[in-house]
Subunit: 429 residues, 2 copies
């Protein structure tokens, strides 16, 4: 993509309404614009990142054996009356009356709808276990939306639902999803700490929150250092994990017998990006989701739900990866891998070398953003640092005369002078 054609409205000034780094940087880097309180448009740069994150989440859900479908955003109030949550949910639910005066709502979550789909279509234990998920926009009418996409009203969530014939099977489904979460966050370059969560209104006793570590995270977390090794693994055993200490600051008790000694206790800041629940037969009983068991008798299915805040992850990754100059994208979620800077657009030699590089990288399937604008070098460096592509390739008249271009690593800041061929080899390796 040529920057001269790309819809990328970067801002020099820091918007006054943005209180946290990710919100500031997403506005400044031209990733999003607010269109109403807590409701955002994803501009092309932000949309590319959101799609990459969504795709990683999708691949790991598929690998865990879950099947993707898509439930609508607008639901009937009727099924929420069946579960008893219509009145209980409160003002965060966006309630709607249609032209025929039917009560509808914008789904804040989907336990009711998926339970309805399951009960209408699955009749036998032989069709279990079954995990279904979708990645769909949700709406929660927060009283005070803030922090950009971190606490917006319209947000993208992956929610999965498992259906099992008994507790042992349900626990295996839970564990498969638990491990899928560790892999998902790891692929994005994040360290996620799973914490035993309050079961709260949803019921049941098997539930974890996943907090990813970021210096500017919203909440303090205390955890056993062993978690960092666990988070680096592809699969862990829940029973082993449940003995390890990990809590948010409001629950931290240094005098608790569970709290590890100081040399093993880590204090950090984190951002909640996932929440998983086992809740047994809460919805299947309320809504009559039964299958014929092996003996022919009806059995209420055991259920769990598994959420990831997909749009929230964009903010969380920025909180974990940024500096004073801008974002530093991990390569797996970067909107482009390489930013190619032409230091003197209009100069024959610079244009020729840059066009050759742009073509060569594009032909190799490397996503490149080519800054071909007729603008000052300082503007180009600042914009490229701001939008945070992992690699910058800088071509100027002096270097080209000497047969070299400069390759900069946005994460480490390291710069290196290389021939064009060597730089291309490095970026297509």
């Amino acid at each position: 993509m040529r920057l001269s054609r790309f819809f990328l409205p970067t801002l020099k000034e820091t918007p006054s309404e943005a209180q946290i780094a990710s919100h500031r940087l997403m506005l400044r880097a031209g990733m999003v614009r607010q269109s109403a309180s807590g409701i955002y448009t994803w501009l092309p740069l932000g949309w590319k990142v959101l799609q990459k994150i969504e795709q990683i989440v999708r691949e790991e859900q598929d690998a865990a054996g879950a099947q993707e479908l898509l439930m609508p955003t607008i639901q009937s109030a009727d099924i929420w009356r069946e579960s008893g949550r219509y009145d209980a949910y409160g003002k965060e639910m966006l309630r709607i009356v249609d032209r025929h005066d039917r009560e509808m709502l914008y789904g804040p979550t989907n336990e009711e709808l998926i339970t309805q789909i399951f009960r209408d279509n699955v009749k036998s234990y032989r069709q279990l276990p079954q995990s279904l998920y979708h990645i769909q926009w949700k709406f929660r009418d927060e009283v005070r939306p803030r922090f950009g996409v971190m606490r917006g009203r319209e947000f993208l969530m992956k929610d999965a639902y498992s259906f099992d014939i008994d507790f042992d099977s349900a626990k295996r489904s839970y564990e498969a999803m638990f491990n899928a979460y560790l892999r998902t966050f790891k692929r994005m370059g994040l360290t996620a700490i799973p914490m035993v969560a309050d079961s709260g209104a949803i019921g049941g006793n098997l539930t974890h929150e996943f907090h990813v570590l970021a210096e500017t995270g919203e909440s303090g977390v205390f955890y056993d250092v062993a978690y960092e090794e666990l988070a680096a693994k592809d699969a862990v055993d829940l029973d082993a994990l449940s003995k390890l200490y990990a809590v948010t600051d409001e629950k931290h008790d240094p005098n608790s017998p569970d709290c590890p000694p100081a040399e093993r206790l880590k204090e950090a800041r984190g951002i909640e990006v996932g929440h998983i629940f086992y809740f047994g037969t809460k919805y299947s009983k309320a809504m009559g989701a039964v299958v014929a068991g092996p003996d022919g008798n009806p059995v209420h299915v055991e259920m769990g739900s598994y959420g990831i805040g997909v749009s929230r992850l964009v903010g969380a990754i920025i909180e974990a990866y940024h500096d004073d100059r801008g974002i530093k994208w991990p390569e797996a979620v970067a909107p482009f891998k390489v930013g190619l800077i032409n230091l003197k657009a209009g100069d024959n030699a610079c244009d020729r070398v840059c066009e050759d590089i742009y073509r060569a990288l594009s032909e190799q399937g490397v996503d490149v953003l080519y800054d071909d604008r007729d603008d000052r070098a300082g503007v180009k460096f600042a914009d490229m640092d701001l939008i945070g592509l992992p690699w910058q390739l800088i071509a100027g008249p002096k270097g080209i005369a000497a047969g070299v271009v400069e390759l900069k690593n946005r994460h480490t800041g390291e710069k290196e002078e290389l021939s064009v061929e060597a730089a291309l080899a490095r970026l297509t390796a």
Copy 2:
């Protein structure tokens, strides 16, 4: 995917509420389920098709130089007051009041929101021309939703918007999108007839509807046979096209001087799947979308909008491609390329051959649905014809003993006995 694990609730009976072929077949093939009037859940099979169609639309929009972003579903009423459409839109607009009593709505289309984004972020003619699009769920509160996803209330639409400095440039943007539409529908196996449309409430005089031909289509169409050649091309000249006759039946006038002679006049049935408009400065004037022109003076930008009914296309393709037994997917949008039928699951030889084929095709990147269920051959044949995968590969004890499997083409009905190797070679060619 193994059918024994796949969430595919096919129906033997024809649902009584479904009046047209695509609605009946989408319900029977387990592609969708209605969750409220005119609101559908896309089950895994339907969701796969919808994603394939969406991806073709996306690729052709990108190829036409449009840039993808994502606008939210919920909009503020304020911008619709600016354009004057808030009161004019009527009961089809789903109006919402949030917890702070602010008037919101579920977007039925996005002219206002994109104009707001444009005016806030683009300031100079040098940034033009610009085309932006998104593929997002819309809501229109139809008084009588019917025909399944063909006239639902929550539906997926691709809407693009072009911004140009003057009429000549706007016409080039319009023509680029016009040709992108012809390519988009052609890739899906459809013949699309563009018709000069009524400009209606939206204003302007350059506007076309695209109707795809289907024997069971909703409207009668009359057109010059030359259109069929045009639709097969990758690019056409609008001026040449505008001289050709193409109208829906309510506008057809055999005595019109524009109507071609009988030997060149074709009568068919069609389904509207796209609509494009040039509407000049209607929104840019109402909402103050100006850029600095070459002489420094402010210029109201010239705009166009370009819609494709993405979820509607699923129904339209089925209307064009089905028979009494079920759907016949064109390969480009098929949920799987191959349906592998094991005629005797549990038989050692059948299982071994089928597992080998399943593995070999999957490794080659061929999407296969493997019917490994312990069920009667008749059930398997009926289900496979119903869901309409382009190729069926059938393996039974007798054939395997003789060293052959059967390859069936769902479109032509042709069957052929082949060695496993020859069948694999054919399907991976």
